[in-house]
Amino acid sequence: MRAIRNLGHAYAHARLGSIAAFAVALLGQLYAPSAAKAEDFTIGVINAMTGIGADLGIASQQAIEPFVEEFNRSAGTGTRLNIIFRDDESNPQKGVAAAHELLQRYRVNMIMGTNLTNVAFAVAPIVNQAKIPFITMATGSALIDPQKFPYSFRTNIPTDLEARTLVDHVVRQSPGKKYGLMVDTTALGQAGAQAVRNALKAHNLEPIAYEAFNPADTDLTAQGFRLQKAGVETLFVWSNGLQLAHAARSFERIGFAPQVFGGFGTHQEAFIRLAGPAGSKWAATIYRGTTRSENEPPPANIVAYYAKLKSRWGDKLTTTVMLAAMWNDMLNLVVDVVKRSKGRDGDSIKAALEDTKNFKGMMSSYSFSPARHDGLEPSAVTIAYVLGVQDNIRTRVPGMP
């Protein structure tokens, strides 16, 4: 022990200088002025790039970077977009830290992202207190409430709209089935469970079986077995693609093959890669713009957009086209809002956002008002099979327009 400690001393002496210098350099960082220029429009993007939400966060970045590069190239001497990415590690506390840093150190003009609902809930009060507009991509319905969070906006599909779409479709197409519900224990899963229950309640229905699982679980045969024993024919799931791929494989092992309907998160690359044939009967909500019916040709604009992404990222591309298109719409909207806004301050931007009427994007047209901060048209949402993707275009389930 002694000898080791002595050795440690020797090392410490040899490296003390370098470590001290490093520490000083790091501390200096804290006070380093930000690189942004006054005429730039600075957006802080908080997303999970590590942890359970990393898939979506990394994929989002793949859509944002090409957009900003192209926009700034064509901006000439006009306003340029300056994006600062922060990793929230899928942890709300880290999201809060990132929000403080972006708002108070970088003085960003807007915050976007927070792909995880619980991170969005943690960040929302801080951003709203700072009176800076916050466009979240998290789907939790309660996140958008102009009374409580006057600066929070969303273009993405809210969870209760998804749940309504799924339940209405199921009840219409195959009434009288036995419904089950399986979600993960994260905020996403819990919010989904609540939304599905509410949507079923509207039809005076309720699930006959309910299962929750830890997002770290890879073996879900126990849950599948219980659902199977309960006689579930149609199963609603709420989680991310990776976790659901594990579920599909687990169900296949025990020969459990219900009709499965999930939220938007099901349509992730991880599910497509890992679920295998077990996922063929799985369907989930999605933007109609990225789907086609069985006999239709794929929408040309989306195919072209996807090709562009593919050429930019090559094999590294993990984003689905709908996620990318959603970001593309969000950023186009922001550019439009900045043009229309009287100033760069939060209230002017907010007013310009609330003044948006039928802004045309790839996925939907978006309208906001002081009372409406969820900008998506409900008709922009449909249901499609998760697998069988061609050119990143999904096939709608029979019976969905």
Binding site: R2, A3, N6, L7
Partner: protein, 253 residues
């Protein structure tokens, strides 16, 4: 100087060695030499630095200065396990046996390096001979070493070092915690091994007993060698007798 008419070959040479624990210096320029085939005793009062000297030689403490040569090569910079591989074996004070192995397996582990070159049969014969010498551990050979009494563990640790047949064996207070009858056996064993050609550096609190069986001796006090010479001379040295041998008697008068 030569014993038995053989040419003297220094096996271990320590030159001007200093060592410290943190900011407390323990050794101040120690010089000692151990020649091939010798039994050298190192005596001195508590806290004189005897244990530290052994720990520094075997690489457990990094020296602050000086030189350590073993088999003619410097070993100051080597890691403890490397030094052991060269054949310099240190049995520290206290009972460092493998507590979760049986007593017998502890001995086999001690012979680990010999096992390949000499084969199991030779080793087994040596182990049996040791068990004969130390019947109290022979009785408990199948017991886990951790369950042996303190004294039995001490004997086991010594036996394990002997079975390794090192080039140089350094023992730190082998008599510690042993019943008088067993101390005799341990010292007899050392004499026997020395006769069979093993080189031994012995640190002992029982200075009289140690010097009685040694060829030469060093007296360490306050981190330096204060006296050295043939052990018979040291035993008769008035100063040594007064300071270190004192009233030491191990048995009934």
């Amino acid at each position: 100087m030569s014993r038995d008419g053989q040419p003297v070959k220094p096996l271990l040479e320590v030159r001007n060695l200093t060592a410290a624990y943190g900011s407390a210096t323990v050794l101040y320029g120690v010089d000692i030499t151990v020649n091939e085939g010798e039994l050298v005793a190192l005596v001195g009062s508590n806290g004189a630095g005897k244990s530290t000297l052994l720990r520094t030689i075997s690489g457990l403490v990094s020296p602050a200065g000086g030189e350590i040569m073993f088999l003619g090569r410097p070993i100051r910079q080597l890691a403890p396990e490397h030094i052991t591989r060269l054949g310099l074996l240190h049995v520290p004070e206290g009972r460092h046996v493998f507590p979760d192995q049986s007593a017998e397996d502890n001995l086999y582990l001690g012979a680990y390096r010999r096992l390949r070159s000499e084969g199991r049969k030779r080793i087994r014969a040596d182990i049996e001979a040791l068990f004969e010498r130390f019947p109290q551990i022979a009785e408990r050979r199948k017991n886990l070493a951790g369950l042996l009494s303190g004294g039995e563990q001490q004997i086991l640790a010594i036996a394990r070092a002997l079975i390794a047949r090192p080039r140089l064996l350094m023992l730190d207070e082998p008599s510690l915690g042993l019943a008088p009858a067993i101390i005799d056996v341990v010292f007899d064993t050392l004499v026997h091994e020395r006769r069979n050609g093993m080189t031994i550096l012995l640190v002992e609190q029982l200075a009289y007993a140690a010097l009685s069986i040694a060829d030469r001796g060093y007296v360490l006090s306050r981190g330096t060698v204060s006296l050295s010479g043939p052990s018979q001379l040291l035993l008769n040295d008035a100063q040594v007798r007064r300071a270190y041998l004192g009233e030491e008697r191990h048995a009934f008068g």
